[in-house]
């Protein structure tokens, strides 16, 4: 992948995270940026769950393949 392709995909992910953060926080009528950042962190944690599980499965499979 070229650098511009990585940039495009990162921008798309960032735009997606921004939309999710705003939609999850705006009804709470926050008076500062802090609640937005907290929601963003929580969304990233939820996003990290499948990434963590996939990474774990990949690691286990790699270990098994090495053992055989």
């Amino acid at each position: 992948m070229s650098r511009i392709e990585w940039l495009v995909s990162l921008l798309l992910v960032a735009a997606g995270l921004s939309c999710l953060t705003v939609s999850a926080t705006i009804l709470l009528n926050p008076d500062s940026i802090r609640p937005y950042l907290q929601t963003l962190l929580q969304i990233c944690m939820w996003l990290g769950i499948p990434v963590f599980v996939a990474g774990l499965v990949y690691f286990i499979m790699k270990q098994r393949r090495r053992d055989f």
């Binding site: 992948m1 992910v13 735009a15 997606g16 939609s23 999850a24 009804l27």
Partner: protein, 474 residues
């Protein structure tokens, strides 16, 4: 940008699947939320109307209705209260239903029967629509006193639902962007090996046979990359072999012709000193002509075999007898070189189904090779039954041996282990290629084991022909 690419197709498929899930899910979430919100509002106004009706029923104060009207106005609750005849006696926030107007008779009848009322009402003055909950006022003595109606604006509910719906759409868009970003990376990562393989195969097709694909995974894609690399290697080898074949064939044919031409010229011009010398030159011409004939015959046979045009007269044959004939023919040359030949054939060796002459040709070629590359020692031949249904033939010599890296190529045409001394050893360079073809044509397998300086062992396996009655005691 070319859209007909695997990365776009893969990405579009993933996004399509994502939308197939996301859109119905969004619709269902919207429905669940709207339904939940409406039922919540309905419950609220029912609870409120019940509470007001109970408050009026339990109060002895004649001002209770006015107090509740005032409280409702103060709390911005839409409400109207009717008496037992259906006349509106109090109103808060509904200008189209002023005090003194009447509600429909069937409603007052329902309230009188202690039933609740749920309905929608459209204000004719403002055009606003309301959810309405009506409760009967029943006093302690079970006397019907009238009813309390509490209203909630549907427009307000719709506005709230719309706001949530907008946020749902925004979060859906966010999820779409997120999926798009990850899908882009994923589809590139999945399609990159395919694209690399496509480029490599194009390069190979253009003749750049040293092109290789980088094998990064152990899955089917990795296997495909390995297959492409193997194909490229085979093509490269085929290409090199063909080049080498043409170079060899021209060299191998030119050499005896040069000899014949040279010595014939000497004889024609009388450039010899004695009869003995003349005989020697004639012998060389004869030998080279024989060699040339044999080479052409071998080449012709080999090409027939490779084209699948070889005629085999297959029958049940006794390999022991065939081997004994081949050994008899080779015996003279073995003795001339001072070598020993050992023959060890197992009793009751089963017959095999093959062409006797071709079998003899196989054995003669292998013996010829063994004699040619063995200076001291012996040639041992063993034949035995292997795993019931196979016959094993082993020809082993104590010759110069074959380096390990050259073993895979010894069955190729004109491949010689001792390239620099090929004329000294003689042979056409086609013998082993013919042997391999003949063995495989007759359903057999040939294997070779060798060690430099110690010798070479050829093993041939042929499927045994099931014994007919009376032949088992052969």
């Amino acid at each position: 940008m070319r859209w007909n690419r695997i990365v776009f197709k893969l990405g579009a498929t993933i996004i399509f699947l994502f939308l197939v899930v996301l859109l119905p899910l969004g619709f269902v979430i919207d429905k669940i939320f709207s339904g939940f919100y409406f039922s919540q509002v309905q419950e609220d106004i029912e609870r409120l109307s019940s509470r007001y009706a109970e408050a009026i029923a339990q109060s002895n104060n004649p001002m209770a209705v006015d107090m509740i009207e005032m409280m409702a106005e103060f709390s911005q609750v839409y409400l109207y209260i009717v008496d037992a005849k259906g006349k509106i006696v109090a109103n808060a926030g509904i200008p189209s239903l002023p005090e003194g107007t009447w509600i429909p008779q069937e409603e007052i009848d329902m309230l009188a029967r202690k039933n609740s009322i749920q309905k929608e009402y459209e204000d004719p003055l403002s055009g606003n629509r309301f959810l309405v909950s009506g409760k009967p006022i029943i006093t302690e003595g079970n006397v019907f006193y009238g009813g309390v109606y509490v209203l909630s604006s549907i427009e307000a509910i719709h506005q709230s639902v719309q706001r949530v719906r907008d946020l749902l759409i925004l979060s859906g868009t966010g999820a779409f962007f997120l999926a798009l970003g990850f899908t882009f990376v994923l589809s590139r990562k999945l399609s990159d090996p395919l694209i690399a393989m496509e480029r490599a195969t194009r390069q190979i097709a253009k003749g750049k046979l040293d092109t290789r694909v980088n094998v990064t995974s152990g899955d089917e894609l990795g296997s495909l990359a390995e297959a492409i690399n193997d194909l490229a290697k085979n093509l490269q080898r085929y290409h090199d072999t063909r080049k080498e074949f043409f170079a060899n064939i021209s060299h191998e044919l030119r050499t005896p012709i040069t000899y014949i031409e040279g010595y014939a010229k000497i004889l024609r011009d009388g450039l010899y000193e004695s009869e003995e010398e003349k005989k020697q030159y004639l012998e060389i011409i004869h030998q080279e002509a024989k060699r040339l004939t044999r080479m052409i015959e071998d080449l012709f046979e080999l090409s027939k075999m490779e084209e699948g045009k070889l005629d085999l007269h297959r029958e049940r044959i006794d390999l022991a007898e065939v081997m004994e004939n081949a050994v008899r023919k080779a015996h003279l040359r073995v003795s001339r070189k001072g070598l020993k030949i050992e023959l060890d054939i197992e009793d009751d060796l089963p017959f095999v189904y093959g062409d006797g002459l071709r079998m003899e040709q196989i054995f003669i070629n292998l013996l010829d090779n063994a004699i040619r590359y063995t200076e001291h020692g012996k040639i041992s031949i063993k034949m035995w039954r292997e795993e019931q249904n196979w016959v094993m033939i082993q020809i082993e010599d104590t010759g110069i041996g074959i380096p390990e890296h050259e073993i895979p190529f010894i069955f190729e045409r004109f491949y010689r282990v001792e390239k620099s001394r090929s004329r000294e050893y003689g042979g056409t360079g086609l013998g082993l290629a013919i042997v391999k073809q003949l063995v495989e044509w007759q359903g057999g397998e040939i294997r070779v084991f060798s060690e430099v300086g110690k010798g070479t062992r050829f093993q041939i396996l042929f499927p045994a022909e099931p014994a007919k009655s009376g032949e088992a005691e052969r």
